[in-house]
Amino acid sequence: MSQQVTRGAVDKSIDGTVKYLDDRLSTSGFIKRNIKKVFPDHWSFMLGEIALYSFIILLLSGVYLTFFYKPSLVEIVYDGSYLPLKGIKMSEAYASTLEISFDVRGGLLMRQVHHWGALLFVAAITVHLLRVFFTGAFRKPRELNWVIGVGLLVLAILEGFAGYSLPDDLLSGTGLRIASGIALAIPVVGTYVSFLVFGGEFPGLDFIPRLYTIHVLLVPGIMLALITAHLMMVWYQKHTQYPGPGRTNENVVGYPLMPVYMAKAGGFFFIVFGFLVLVSGLVTINPIWKYGPYMPDQVTAGSQPDWYIGWLDGGTRIMPNWEITVPGMFTLSPNILIPAVVVPGIMFTLLALYPWIEQWITGDKRIHHILERPRNNPNRTALGVMSLVFYGFLWISGGNDIIAQMLNLSINDMTRVIRVLIFITPPIAFVITKRICLSLQHKDRERLLHGDPTGRLLRLPNGEFIEVHEPLSDEVKAILLARTELPMLTPPAEVDANGVKTPNLWVKKLQHRLNRWWYVDQVPMPTAAELTAAKAHTLHELEDAQERGIEIAKDLPSPTKSH
């Protein structure tokens, strides 16, 4: 009885709200279309969610930090509660960060949530990007969202570096000194760039207030806009799904937004948030009080940037010391420009353009909503692994001093070896990955044609031994058959029907050649005839087994019945 009364009250308030909003904003149409929107379920789809939730947590914890942090390089004498630094001259920025860490209840926790959150944010973006890359989720119609994602990655790295620099501790100041050195290396205008960015000579008094505006307003503002666009595109285009039974390019299979996805996604936000708070309570990150205030004539051994800057720092470390000087005229510093500007520039450009590069080679203009298993696109997968190996060497070089010390190696030898390995190993990784993918394709073909081996041997009347294979389940079959094969491009004609020479013939020839290379080793999918024949063969085997009273598998339908 009482339950009914409450239900009536809830209903009334729901009806009232829906009516109120609809009368003013005609929201019901939109809600009706979306409230039962289906999202496919897979653990790898949560990577982007982690990135999104980290961003929200960063906004929350970041706003809190701004209430205490002073973006100022004015020099003061520290008089806070951290005794080892008492009486030391430092900037207000550093002193206020110490205050947050030692004098504000919950301040250290929020600072650590912010720092751990930033590390998780970039990590989640990176792994999410890899998932999207290796499953081909960036293919038409999602190329534009891929570019937004790459933009967000670049901004996240910049934002992280800016935030890392704000406490004005010895470690972050060293990072900025390196940034100013890189700015100075820019040809022709480098000195001007450095002077304008830092408001004069390094370090000056301007960079902290400037970085602060960039860190709390400019970059997060752009990121917020891009994330909104990113999500709206996912929403409108509907999420991709992995191949499986009942899943086609024309449907989306999963759970409805209301109530399941709301509960799961909402709950997952709390899990990410709770996890970050727990880690921040237990594990110290960036203990700026141990580094001391920034002094341009001091440094700590084993200076390390945050993980996502490591690859840039690593490239700068292993680069040979090439410099070109024309006395009395100019100095050009490829030793700095190549690892800090040229290589990252090329890497991010290739990354952003990848969907179009692949599309140009494959000629694939189809719409894709079913994700590709990495093995089914061996060249893409191999290119991805090859790039990761290259990135990996840059990244470990960012910690080469620490690695050399731990492994008791000579840092000079280690640097020399990596200089060679970073060029030799990526192509090897490419070949190995491609071969593995093709082998897996062979295996898939075998499974489709012959089913899975059961390990049971059968002796035929003629004395021959065979191993009995059991047919694949519908689910496995659906996954294995979900591979799409595209015809190769036809070679470009030298002249058209009217005898006019084809414009840009060499470009088209290159495209054709790359297209051939892309597809030439692809293991062909079984044809319909092959599948039917194989099926008949398997059934025959099963019948044979049945006749001899051998049970192949319990849950299999009797082969005679299915005839």
Partner: protein, 348 residues
Amino acid sequence: MSNSNHDDIQNEVVPATQSETQVNLPKSELPVHVLRRADVDPIAAARAERQVAIMFLLSAVFTVLAVVSFFAIPVDLYIRVPGPGVTSASNFALGITLGLAIFLIGTGAIHWARKLMPDDEVVQSRHGYSSSREIRESVMQEIRIGGEESGFTSRKIVRRSLLTAIAVLPLPAVILALDFGPLPQNELRETLWKKGVRLVTDPTGRYLRPEDFSVGSLVSAHPENLKEWEEENHNLNARAKTSILVVRMTPEQLRTSQGEGWDYQGIIAYSKICTHVGCPIALYEHRTHHLLCPCHQSTFDLADSGNVVFGPAARRLPQLPLGVDEEGYLVALSDFQEPVGPSFWERG
């Protein structure tokens, strides 16, 4: 699956030439929905309900504990915790309680969704993105007509003048940026060192005498006028350039110098700022006289004119010519003879 399996495989495999969006997916159906225990067993459902409720209630308990620890634990109390070691008690308690309070809401909600909310998979069809041909063509048409109506295509002079105006408009933005800082003058080539400026230790500000140096000892030093300059200018710009390392070697050890008579009885001074990207160089190895930059491992040989022996730095460290004044204190004989720190375009 209504049809027998092997019949529809034939239909499933689409020939290699495919229509635009077609994929050779089997027309298989969703796997049969398996009921969960909580769907059929009211006791299991009640248990799941209880578990969810316990998580939510525990979360509330931890929230209360978080509030209590905020007030009860002084911010300057440090405790030893197995694992993290000595740590701020307040941070530790707040992290655990608040973390669990938040985390448990998440696990509760997900447990609820997984055990008690409907778990049958739903199929929705996708929509195409392309608008109809008519709509597309009418949009192209509208844009063309709009362009014509505006005269943007036909009125060349209007169009070109507008493009010109827009092309030059960014100029003020560039000009405004010119006042982001003073433009470079001679700052990258000059430091506070000059003839007769004494060397002082940092931060004690003690003058240095040759007798202070035994062979092999290394001291970080500054010009005596730095303190005064910093009190006047309130920034660290001069410090970022003037810092030097002073070391004493025996005449046999000291193979070359950058200038004749730039050492004083084996005492030499080099800029502490790396010529790569400007980190202070701090790691000195007495046996080899090598100086290693901790940032990118550029290595310089102080016994051999500060030349680069390893790493990404391309230039030797600038040497400061040393002597003593009439009172016997170490002084600079001049400023550095080449710019200290990272290379820059105009350096030449």
